[in-house]
Symmetry: C2
DNA sequence: GTCTATACAAAGATAGAC
DNA sequence: GTCTATCTTTGTATAGAC
C-alpha cells in the first residue's frame, strides 16, 4: 500500500523526468546528438548535472528515453488507412498529417533523423518492428484499391519512402528549405503549399481516380 | 624557380592531403561528424595523429576541407537544364543523375546531410550562393516550358525540394530504406525502381506532355 | 616533413555529505 | 531526492626531437 510520502516522491520523480526529457529534446535537436552534453541539458533544465545522471544513468539511456517518447507520440499523430474511404482521401490526409507533424514537432523529427542517419540501433530496431506490423497492413489496403481500379499499381515501399522523404525534409532540413524559399521563418502558408504540391504529385503519380467512392 | 626538392615536398603534401581527405570522408560518414575523432582518422589513414593536425590545423578546418571537396564534386556530377530538350528529358535525366549520386557517392551525401541538419555555417553559406546562381536559372527555364504549354505551372522551389528529398533519402537514410525493402544491401535494381517511380510522380505531378519536342 | 610525448580542456560518471 | 566535489577518460592541439 502506498503511503503519502511515496506518492510525493513518485510525483517529484515524474515531474523531473518530464522536465529532463523535454529539455533534452530541445537541446539534442539544437546541438546534435553527439555535441549535446549532459551539462548543457542540466543548465537549460536548471538542475545540477548529477541529477540528470540520477534519473538516467548514462547519456545513452537518456537519449533512448527521449527517442522512445518521440516515437510513441508519433505513432499517435498519424491516422491509419481506412479502406472504405478510398485512396484519394487517405493519401491526402496522410500527407497532410505528416506535414503537420513536421511543423508542430520539428524537434522530434530532427532527432529521429539524426538517430537514423547515425544508424542508432535503438531506432533501427523500432523501425523493423513497425514495418512488420504497420506497413504490411497499409500495403494490403493499397492492393485492395489497386484491385478495385481506384489507383494504379505502384511499388508501395518506394511510395512510402518518397512520402516520408518529402514531408520530413520540411522539418529535418528546414535550414535548406528556408534558403530555398528565401525566408527567415517558415509560415503556415509554406507548409500548405508543400502539402498541396506533394499531394498533387502522389495522386497523379499513382493515377488515383478523381471520383469519390 | 622550383627546385626538385620543392617538387618532392609538394608531391608528398598533395598525396597526404588526399589520403587524409578520403579517409576523413569515410570516417565522418560512418561515425557522424561530432563522434569522429582525429585519432580515428589517423589510425585509419595509417598516420600519427600529429600529422593530421600538421595538414589541417583543427578538426573544423578538416571538416570544411572535406565538405568543400564534396561540394565541388557534386556540382560537376549533375547536368544543367537544357531548355531545347524540353521538360521530360531534363527532369528524367536530373532525377536519374541525383539517384546515381546517392548510390555512387553515398558517403558524400551523408556528410552533406549531417552538416545540413547540424546547420553548419559552411554548408548554409554554400547553399545560399548556389541558389542565387543556379536555381534562378533553372526556374527561368521551367517558366519557359510552362509558357510553351509543355508542363503545368508548379511551385518551382517545392519541386526541387521534393526531388532532392526523394533522391537523397536513398543515400542519407539508406538504413531505413534497407529495412523497408527488407534487404541487407541495396542493389542497382532498387535504385532503378526508385528512379522510375520518382520520375513517374514528378512528370505526372507537373503534367509534363508526353510528346517529344 | 614526421612523429613521440605531453599540455590542457572538457566530458561522462559517481561518491558521499546533506 | 539533491548537489558539491572529484575521479577517469578522452579529445584537441602543440612543442620539440629527429
Amino acid at each position: 500500500m502506498k503511503r503519502p510520502k511515496d506518492q510525493l516522491k513518485a510525483h517529484i520523480r515524474a515531474q523531473n523526468q518530464t522536465l529532463i526529457l523535454e529539455t533534452s529534446e530541445r537541446v539534442f535537436a539544437r546541438q546534435g546528438l553527439a555535441k549535446t552534453t549532459t551539462q548543457m541539458i542540466a543548465d537549460e533544465a536548471g538542475l545540477p548535472k548529477a541529477n540528470i545522471h540520477y534519473y538516467y544513468r548514462s547519456k545513452k539511456d537518456l537519449l533512448e528515453a527521449v527517442l522512445e517518447r518521440i516515437l510513441r507520440l508519433w505513432l499517435d499523430s498519424v491516422s491509419e488507412f481506412n479502406v472504405e474511404e478510398g485512396p484519394k482521401h487517405n493519401l491526402t490526409r496522410y500527407i497532410s498529417e505528416k506535414i503537420d507533424q513536421s511543423r508542430i514537432n520539428k524537434n522530434a523529427s530532427k532527432i529521429f533523423a539524426m538517430a537514423l542517419i547515425g544508424e542508432e540501433t535503438f531506432v533501427l530496431d523500432y523501425l523493423r518492428n513497425l514495418f512488420v506490423t504497420e506497413l504490411s497492413r497499409e500495403k494490403a489496403t493499397i492492393q485492395i484499391w489497386v484491385d478495385k481500379g481506384l489507383m494504379a499499381s505502384v511499388p508501395t515501399e518506394h511510395l512510402f519512402i518518397s512520402i516520408w522523404a518529402m514531408t520530413q525534409t520540411y522539418a529535418d532540413f528546414d535550414a535548406q528549405v528556408k534558403i530555398m524559399l528565401q525566408k527567415d521563418q517558415l509560415v503556415e502558408d509554406d507548409y500548405e503549399e508543400a502539402k498541396q504540391f506533394i499531394t498533387r504529385m502522389v495522386l497523379a503519380g499513382c493515377q488515383v481516380m478523381e471520383v469519390e467512392v
